[in-house]
């Protein structure tokens, strides 16, 4: 074996070993645990009122968050890409803020600003909107941590959309609206879908930001991750396991669906090679046309 091949093998073994130990084995552990007492017990655990309520609440909040995020995220991406205005660079940098801020701190900030002690919170309260320890608060916390996903997923797709294609559509007789509908939207759809699905999955699992803002009122503001935490603290492995597994399954299904939906037709390589999970194609160095 050449030294090149040998070192390749060594590298491969090290990398695979690391990933297996770090990722696969813990997942197997939880999988095994969930079936320890059989599938029947598993279903029973989920149907417990507290567990069921937590799951339903989390999915509902995640959906609402996804919708708001999709709308405002698309708008923000459009504005950031197509327009120039003072402060644009600042806004663009701020989009990455949720990635840099600890989730707990995020929850803290939102609870502070929108809770009853702040002027804004008091104002909202008088208007009948309770943010803290309530559904809007959960949504707001989820929105904070997922905010960059749609924006960052859409920006590169919008930038790549050359004006040429729009103009070509015009020369072929399309009105501005027809061009937008038939050319622009389909081109950005993969980016949009990626942003949406990533938002949903992330919102489902969010703990740090939500735990402060939502509090922990069972059946009312207790999201699934907080429920799981409670179960762990009470040494109730079964309860923790069942809800965890459901959350994991929903997340994995969503990601697989995303992969299916956004795989460019005719492509067989896994996404990690060509695009980010944000669906962003690489800007390759200029290649001769025949390559």
């Amino acid at each position: 074996m050449t030294s090149h091949a040998l070192s390749g093998l060594a590298l491969r073994s090290a990398a695979i070993g690391y990933v297996l130990c770090l990722v696969l084995i813990p997942l197997l552990a939880i999988g095994v645990q969930s079936l320890e007492h059989g599938a029947g017990k598993f279903l029973e655990d989920i149907r417990q009122p507290q567990a069921a309520a937590a799951l339903v609440l989390t999915i509902k909040a995640a959906l609402v968050t996804t919708i708001i995020n999709a709308a405002f995220g698309t708008l923000s991406a459009w504005v950031l890409v197509r327009y120039t205005f003072p402060g644009r660079a600042l806004l663009n940098a701020l989009v990455d803020l949720p990635f840099a801020v600890p989730t707990l701190v995020a929850g803290l900030m939102i609870a502070a600003l929108y809770g009853p002690t702040s002027p804004l919170g008091a104002l909202l309260q008088r208007g009948g909107i309770e943010v803290l320890y309530n559904f809007p608060g959960i949504t707001l916390a989820m929105l904070f941590v997922t905010m960059p996903f749609t924006i960052r997923a859409l920006q590169p797709v919008l930038m790549e959309l050359e004006r040429d294609q729009e103009e070509a559509a015009y020369t072929l007789g399309a009105t501005a609206w027809q061009a937008f509908r038939r050319v622009t939207i389909p081109a950005v759809l993969p980016g949009l879908l990626t942003g949406i699905f990533l938002t949903f999955v992330r919102a489902l699992g969010e703990f740090g930001a939500v735990v402060i803002v939502a509090g922990n009122i069972p059946l009312k503001t207790q999201v699934a991750p907080v429920y799981v935490y409670g179960e762990i603290e009470s040494y109730n492995a079964q309860g923790a396991t069942s809800v965890s597994v459901v959350v994991l399954l929903v997340s994995f299904l969503a990601l697989m669906l995303l992969e299916r939906l956004t795989r460019p037709p005719g492509e067989r390589l896994p996404a990690i090679f060509k695009t980010s999970r944000a669906g962003r194609p690489l800007r390759k160095s200029p290649q001769p046309a025949t390559r």
């Binding site: 050359e162 040429d164 294609q165 103009e167 070509a168 559509a169 015009y170 020369t171 072929l172 007789g173 399309a174 009105t175 027809q178 038939r182 050319v183 389909p186 081109a187 759809l189 460019p264 037709p265 005719g266 001769p288 046309a289 025949t290």
Partner: protein, 364 residues
């Protein structure tokens, strides 16, 4: 021949830069017209103005005799082929070509028939369900043309159609475009910076320089009778010298060119094509002498580079038969004569002047 397109006194300004200056020309029905010039000469802008993708600052565009300045691009019924194809990446070849037809709400059967017809014509029949990223550069180009032709436009406009492909593919595409134009007889206008391409493909061509039209003519006219120095330099190869007029002769070093109508004291530019530099290995055959500096083999002919006794360097072109009958060697002392020349007018942009001041062989 009826006039299909008329451009009248069109100028275009971007900010305070005038990109197109007072351009006028017409295109006859069925013509294949080339817009030739270096980058930044305004030719692409003129094309886009005709298409309706830009509007002229001043001037008018007429299509089929009707003024279309206020007609939006969607309604001009022109076909446009973009430099980088602008294919719809998320659509198959079929869907790309069908796009214009679907906008016009043709029936599914009509669409299918027309698309099949075009794909067959373009040699793309097997690629109906492919996506642009799965095609080669040449194939993408042909899809772009098929797409533009599908809705039966009245004119076809092409922006640097062969700019982005390999030399080999470019040659094939050129020949194929000529054939296509011959078969379909659609009035076509194309922009290029490649003078060889323009010469080979066009029925007539327009040479642009810095937003102005320097010359309009057939390839032969433009080559043999360049109206300005720019055109002379841009088209084909040209030897150019600067001479001073005295007593009806333009002199530069040992050369004298008869210019009977020129005033004494004027400095003028004289140009002569390599083909008109005749060389003989017999030093007594011609009056002027030079040293053969370099011999280039061009495939169809030979290029000989000579350095005169007074230090001027000229290119000469000689076909293979003639070359092989003679005996030439690098470093050899040869005699030469210039058998035809042109005086090159300096002004560009004031239209083109009609005839040179003098033309004719020098006495050998």
């Amino acid at each position: 021949m009826t006039t299909k397109i008329q451009v009248r006194s069109v100028s275009k300004r971007f900010g305070d830069v005038e990109v197109v200056s007072n351009v006028s020309f017409s295109v006859g029905e069925g013509e294949l017209l080339g817009l030739l010039g270096p980058s930044g000469s305004g030719k692409t802008t003129v094309l886009r103005i005709i298409a309706g993708l830009e509007s002229p600052t001043t001037g008018d565009i007429f299509l089929d005799g009707l003024r279309v300045n206020d007609v939006p691009v969607q309604e001009r019924n022109i076909g446009f082929v973009f430099q980088h194809y602008a294919l719809f990446k998320h659509m198959t070849v079929f869907e790309n070509v069908a796009f214009g037809l679907k906008i016009k709400r043709r029936s599914k059967a009509d669409v299918r028939a027309r698309v099949a017809e075009l794909l067959e014509l373009m040699g793309l029949s097997g690629l109906t369900d492919r996506y642009p990223r799965q095609l080669s550069g040449g194939q993408r180009q042909r899809v772009a043309i098929a797409r533009a032709l599908a809705p039966r436009p009245r004119v076809l406009l092409l922006d640097e159609p062969f700019g982005a492909v390999d030399a080999q593919v470019r040659q094939e595409l050129r020949e194929w475009l000529i054939r296509l134009h011959h078969d379909l007889n659609v009035t076509s206008l194309f922009v290029t910076h490649d003078q060889e391409e323009a010469m080979e493909v066009s029925d007539r061509l327009i040479v642009f320089s810095k937003g102005h039209v320097d010359q309009i003519g057939t390839p032969a006219e433009v080559y043999e009778e360049p109206a300005t120095e720019f055109v002379a330099r841009f088209i084909g190869s040209m030897n150019i010298v600067e001479a001073e007029v005295k007593g009806g002769l333009a002199r530069v070093r040992e050369l004298e060119f008869p210019v009977p109508h020129a005033d004494d004291g004027r400095r003028i530019r004289i140009g002569f094509r390599p083909y008109y530099v005749k060389i003989s290995e017999d030093p007594l055959h011609f009056r002027q002498h030079a040293r053969l500096r370099h011999i280039y083999f061009l495939g169809v002919a030979y290029r000989l580079e000579i350095e005169t006794d007074t230090g001027l360097i000229f290119r000469s072109r000689m076909n293979k038969e003639e070359f092989r009958q003679r005996r030439f060697e690098v470093g050899q002392r040869v005699s030469y004569a210039i058998t035809q020349f042109r005086v090159l007018p300096e002004d560009q942009g004031a239209g083109y002047s009609s005839r040179p001041l003098a033309e004719g062989p020098l006495t050998p």
